[in-house]
Symmetry: C2
């Protein structure tokens, strides 16, 4: 019975997510659903990414948190449009929550919208928001057994950002094992190793975002 309930909720969500996607496709806005465990570095990645790209791309951010507006305040300092969603207990964002924020954005003028999901390596992977692609962050401090233990998120994501590589000398984590097991689950996964703190490896991620955003705008012109 519980399984049926979950399936109904997921089906209703997919309908709304498709409507969101249609809107984003119409305006040519690339939408990224950014997911990770708590503390893997989602907000810091956003801050660095905005600094690097805001002069060339029209960006916006949706911040998802159970409560608090701390992350939205960090992003607002960067001078781009940001909306905070407080889920009030729910451990993931869903299509409906995203739809409710869209009136706050001028979609026609928005080229890249990044949605920071609630910090959770499980449920956010199950709920579509209307995004073009899911991007996940794994911090090297979380260990190299995460792909086999949380496979759904690795399967659903198009990009895996392995963050905090500056801490590799101090932890017992094998980058080789993370890569090998992630690709076993999802052979099409693009993997970038980087450190938001030192800046190492960030340029490849920016370049990936630039190309994706241009490709999405190109689709609209057709």
């Amino acid at each position: 019975m519980k399984i049926t309930v979950v399936r109904d909720i997921l089906e209703a969500n997919e309908r709304i997510a498709r409507q969101n996607k249609d809107l984003f496709d119409g305006s040519g806005t690339l939408v990224i659903n950014l997911m990770s465990s708590p503390g893997a570095g989602k907000t810091t990645l956003l801050e660095r990414t905005i600094d690097a790209l805001k002069d060339e791309l029209k960006m916006g951010v949706i911040e998802g948190d159970i409560q608090s507006s701390e992350d939205a305040e960090r992003i607002a300092k960067k001078g781009i449009p940001v909306v905070q969603i407080n889920t009030g207990g729910a451990c993931h964002l869903d299509g409906n929550m995203i739809r409710d924020t869209l009136k706050e954005f001028d979609l026609e003028g928005l080229e890249l919208l990044i949605v920071e999901n609630v910090g959770n390596l499980v449920c956010p992977a199950e709920f579509k928001l209307g995004e073009d692609c899911k991007v996940m962050i794994l911090s090297v401090t979380e260990g190299d057994d995460k792909p086999s233990k949380y496979p759904l998120m690795f399967r659903e994501s198009e990009v895996l950002l392995v963050n905090k590589v500056d801490l590799l000398p101090y932890v017992d984590t094998s980058l080789e094992r993370i890569t090998r097991e992630s690709l076993k689950i999802n052979p099409a996964l693009s993997i970038f190793e980087l450190s938001c703190k030192t800046g190492q490896g960030m340029e490849s991620w920016y370049q990936w975002l630039r190309e994706k955003t241009r490709a999405k705008l190109g689709d609209v012109d057709l």
Copy 2:
């Protein structure tokens, strides 16, 4: 409507959790529900704790994971009874899953049962298992903003283990802020700062477990 569904599930769960608790109270078994984000160090903490206490306490472990039996295999090497639960997608354990494992244990001979929940800082805090107390781990690599962003788990826990303090020199995390904000949410919280890797601070945690286990056995004798 969604809220009603969630409430029904939670109520049904609480009934089963109370039945589990009655069984554990009858046998004098102290039950700990161990929770954290993925990769904060739950299984390593268990390994160290078993090494330190298995000669003085009769211990058992329930391992909760979405899939894989990697953690149960690590614990089985220690020579104590362990049962693996695979939730098959669910992001938390519930009372029913625990009840299904109990036939695998000789409860009368068990003094301390530690349940390692699915790695998730959100949902596990909502589902009672029949435990005496919830213990949470926060790794210093997750940052010091976690109490304000995930308050329910800090509110529900009796103990907060701040792990990986050996990494403090390499991260921008304030122990003082973690302590201050955790106690603001839950003034009764016991906080231990430790490193499962170096062993620093572990003895206070062992001592807390010893005293709790003895107190539970004492209650049965009354």
